[in-house]
Symmetry: D2
Subunit: 401 residues, 4 copies
Amino acid sequence: MYRRKTATRGGGLGAPAARVGAWLVGARGSVATTSRTGAAAVAAGLAPPTGLVTALAPFDRVALPKLSELVFGGHDLVDTPLVKRAEALAYAGVLPGSLLHAVADALDAGEADILLGVGAATGTRPPRRAIERIQRDVSSFQAAHALDTVVVVDLASTEARMAGPWLDCSLEALDRMLDQRRTVLPASVLYAYAALDAAWPFVDFTPSVATQLPALRELAGARHVPYAGRDGKTGQTLVRTALAPLFASRNLRVCSWSGTNLLGGGDGEALADPVRAASKLASKGRAVPSILGYEVDGSLHIDHVPDLGEWKTAWDHVSFEGFLGTRGVLQLTWQGCDSTLAAPLVLDLVRLVAAAQRAGLEGPLAPLGFFFKDPVGSSEHRLDRQFQALCDWAAGLEGSR
Amino acid sequence: MYRRKTATRGGGLGAPAARVGAWLVGARGSVATTSRTGAAAVAAGLAPPTGLVTALAPFDRVALPKLSELVFGGHDLVDTPLVKRAEALAYAGVLPGSLLHAVADALDAGEADILLGVGAATGTRPPRRAIERIQRDVSSFQAAHALDTVVVVDLASTEARMAGPWLDCSLEALDRMLDQRRTVLPASVLYAYAALDAAWPFVDFTPSVATQLPALRELAGARHVPYAGRDGKTGQTLVRTALAPLFASRNLRVCSWSGTNLLGGGDGEALADPVRAASKLASKGRAVPSILGYEVDGSLHIDHVPDLGEWKTAWDHVSFEGFLGTRGVLQLTWQGCDSTLAAPLVLDLVRLVAAAQRAGLEGPLAPLGFFFKDPVGSSEHRLDRQFQALCDWAAGLEGSR
Amino acid sequence: MYRRKTATRGGGLGAPAARVGAWLVGARGSVATTSRTGAAAVAAGLAPPTGLVTALAPFDRVALPKLSELVFGGHDLVDTPLVKRAEALAYAGVLPGSLLHAVADALDAGEADILLGVGAATGTRPPRRAIERIQRDVSSFQAAHALDTVVVVDLASTEARMAGPWLDCSLEALDRMLDQRRTVLPASVLYAYAALDAAWPFVDFTPSVATQLPALRELAGARHVPYAGRDGKTGQTLVRTALAPLFASRNLRVCSWSGTNLLGGGDGEALADPVRAASKLASKGRAVPSILGYEVDGSLHIDHVPDLGEWKTAWDHVSFEGFLGTRGVLQLTWQGCDSTLAAPLVLDLVRLVAAAQRAGLEGPLAPLGFFFKDPVGSSEHRLDRQFQALCDWAAGLEGSR
Amino acid sequence: MYRRKTATRGGGLGAPAARVGAWLVGARGSVATTSRTGAAAVAAGLAPPTGLVTALAPFDRVALPKLSELVFGGHDLVDTPLVKRAEALAYAGVLPGSLLHAVADALDAGEADILLGVGAATGTRPPRRAIERIQRDVSSFQAAHALDTVVVVDLASTEARMAGPWLDCSLEALDRMLDQRRTVLPASVLYAYAALDAAWPFVDFTPSVATQLPALRELAGARHVPYAGRDGKTGQTLVRTALAPLFASRNLRVCSWSGTNLLGGGDGEALADPVRAASKLASKGRAVPSILGYEVDGSLHIDHVPDLGEWKTAWDHVSFEGFLGTRGVLQLTWQGCDSTLAAPLVLDLVRLVAAAQRAGLEGPLAPLGFFFKDPVGSSEHRLDRQFQALCDWAAGLEGSR
């Protein structure tokens, strides 16, 4: 349907548009490093835009910021130099070794714009202080690079679930809590608040709760700023949301849908912690029942297998019942590299969310559900419908150019 | 999305409508026997309508003939009694043994309406004679049961590919050939001509060439009769057309898509003949490149493994390239029972095509592409888009009620 | 190598030998019911001896009790009639429906010899009383049928792990505990003690601790009685112990070996309890590191998926490193019916253990390790070596005839 | 069982022994290049001896030539420099890029000993001339390096099957044909004759017919020289011969065993030619029926999928019948790199065959069947039995030290 662009077109992707910053939370992680390396490589024509949704034909006439014009910065809790991280990714086979040399200067130059991030608010001082620090950091970045806007993208590793009154309070109540020393809050909420409060669009690429808070939705409305989330749909859920409509539309009853994920790498390690894994499993579990219209039996595991490095393997086993009760089984395995599946979506989201802000949109961007396991503002999980909705929405942005 | 109906609703599926006959070519085969057994069982409330697309919510308000009102007849080249065939299918686990007793009378009663079929025209006498015989048989059936219309469904086993001037000639030229003794033609063309010429809607559930002939399209136009085809999409291609849009919409480049099918049973035997398999492989091979927009490497095998009986297993191996050239692999296996995957679609098609005729539609019914590997009148292969098109089209039929 | 016997030979399997009873703990479960149905069917020539190891050529000249001469009895905690259980298994596709009629009389006749079993000793009265009751029950059975010996086979569902001083005490100390009211013990130990103390050979087909107790080993020595165990090797571990030697003998380093088991049925339910599953997982986990000679990363799940009924599916993912560090991956799925994989082994074990007793053997029967996930008396897990050891040992029994 | 050696031991593998040459036919191919690179890397302690069977404990006391002492030469029909080939293999991920620099000098130095090979005898001149040329080339190599012996290893790509009177004639008759101009012969026979006639041990790592010829067996006897073959067992057949004994020893009846191989790279291309593939398929097809003792239904495909590069993927589908006719299915996929699976076996074979010659053995070396799909001199295909036979045989060689 949509033909791939040639490598040479990659550099020129996008129309003349606003100067846009991409502030990555988790800026030294695998996904962030791959996004930046890839943006530089595609912009320079060294790699084709494979994997970039916004490089497909339906986005040709949408006024998106060019890859070459994106300016990157971010927060992280570690200080491994980006170039070292890229070298490790190249050694692991994630990045082509041949690109390293070409992008090393760009990565080095970006070091100055990666600052020490904030952790969860632990009840020792008012969370407002951390928020203000985040805002100061991003503001300086915006000013230094003369950016029209900055899209804040949360790429941090999966947080442990936390409970608290802030989960479903009003903005007013949240504001009071932020000024109280004893308030305990996950880092994701601090970042999301900081971004929305300053009218920077926010993208939650993790299964954090931030984009679920009514208070933050209220804040986005008050500041007229758009946001999108949550939890990038890059592997097993991506495949499930392509396959589940088959069963629904053919009136085949899914009896059980079981799955196991084997992950190496950083996220695998975070998810070896059952408390953190719970967030991920909850966000992964919503798609299938939502598409089928009924609950389905079956377990879902996320296992940390360090030996797999940056790769992951998912196994799915679907047992279904057809005409006159006859059974069938669909099994599949998906082997992919998490970082390179996720990285182009980060670039897509920065481009699309920036365009949405420019078009005057605010609040949760439901048409971006295509990118997420658990889309905010939408209950549509069917992949192809999500893609149609995205294309239709993007076509509507054209006029705003 | 669409909830399954309860078993008790199955009996009453459909609105008061025309009396419709279903004339099955290959009336004693596994698919035909399963369709008839299932129609009787669902109509009697003995089985839920699982697998019937027309039992889904979007068809609730469409004026379709009731399952309980369909009258079955057909041609076959063998004379195994239907009840024997059903017993063999129950022994093989395809039909629940408990249904046999309940439907035996209905199957026995139907024997009188299954007549000896015609084979390919072999050049020994004018093909017109075979066509006339088919038309006499179906006319008698229609008259005997006072049917408003008869839908002719080709369920014969896969034919060998044949070439001839009739493949792309005009109706006038075809008509001349039909009167010539030496003309050689596949049986599928005889049946399709007989049906369309008599203004009975025609459904090609096989990979035969009949629905590809310009002359037959012309004939359908002249007689103002609709038709649909071809080659029921029940297994590997069904899954492929659900998955391929994932790669297209995520801009992932499919490098190779290889597959192997293991089939027992009747169709497996027919397809062990490479000449017949060629028809099937050609019809199977169109979907993926059409969805992706480019040709894809990879082989496709259909193997006859008698031991598998009525079951089939398909293995697919998809190698793809993502961002910065990183590779991924998707593998899947599909284990299903061909007859029970196909049978409900036959009932769906009879109901929908009859409704289309009643609504005054003629020619190829592109919106029924959802049911076929190689849809006539449409180049859309994406499963979910086909389903949307089907639902939209069916909604349009409502008004004709 | 070893040709299957024809069905007609099945009836006469075995040489004239001692009259042997088979006392099944869990006598109304799926495995016991399938064993008894199968023994009757094979003895009557209604089914071939497929799945019976002792029907292979290497056992032709070993003096084993005939299947037709085995007399069955047992304990259970439920009272579902065997015929009902067999009907349920036939409905689930485990037993051929056609066999039910033929074996119904035999199953009915056996009801009188199935008595209410004992549960774990819970500290309310001395465990000795339960042991004495078991011994009285089995003695009456032995006397009533004039049996030379009775093989007691534990087929109960997986027990929760229990700890206590009895785990590694002497026989003398255990004997003292058995007379104390407060002693808490799992049922498996009660059965094993009752059997060995009365010089009835004992087979542990479950992952229970009974055959691990030094005290029971001592008891078997004192009573000169043989025993075998533990945990029948019927699925994933069976395949793993066939495959792991490949990696060891080709000097390929296994980096990770992960697995997921999906089980319906009774055992699936028991294993949905994490405390019980721990026993099973421990017994499953020993084989691979033992064969490879090093610990291997990877997780192992046992999931209860009720929809799968009596069937189970296991997925294995093996990542390995070869020459110069190049990686490879082996993945496999195993779909089988647990009861019919286990049942013939129960019959094999009864025959072999009875022959061992007749040959004057005592203590743990290491050469029967071929049948078990965690063989007592042996650290050999390689399947083919176990089979060779079994055949060599059986050949040695011939002389005792 | 057998622990891996540490990398540092790799360099010293083997005892002081004869100076041995390895003459590789197909010296510039992937397998040969990987063998040489690996020998240099392991000898230098840069890589562990993973994948080398002769590095396992059972070979510790066998007098094998050291890797560091092997001298390589060979014939090829192309002239790509070894270093270029190694670079291509590193780019494809087969060789670690980090090794290239370390072994480049060794590979360059070896160029002088790779000469232009001979093709099939096409009937234009007596084949004897080609044989003499081969012998002159190898003799010069032997003299130049003062080698005690030279092992000739056929690593050429799969030949098309050829028929002729030489297939089953006597040595005397073959000798006459070699002097006749019109004689047509595959290259493999020329190489095998040249080697055996000059008393150089010969290893056939391909599915060629050479080692099947009675005349060449006679020649080996006359010259008192050992040989081994044929067709290295590195992938699907390796796994099949590990798994098939499971079914045999558990008396499970295999109903069908189907398989598909997807190969990129050079051998994939050769095997895309159906005439060549026939040789491979025949040699692959023998193992399973031989182990089971009966013929088994099922197809076997070898497909060329260029996109897979040096990697291959094999899918196996095994349908089996167990107790009371219940069915089960085992499916597996094997993803590996052909060259690195084959290369260490080439080194093992050179070492073992040289030691066999030194120990005075002659004719087909049946105990080396462990390495081959279709072992000469043996009908044993069960992998673990083959490994045992190999270890026992090697232990017998120790005395000759």
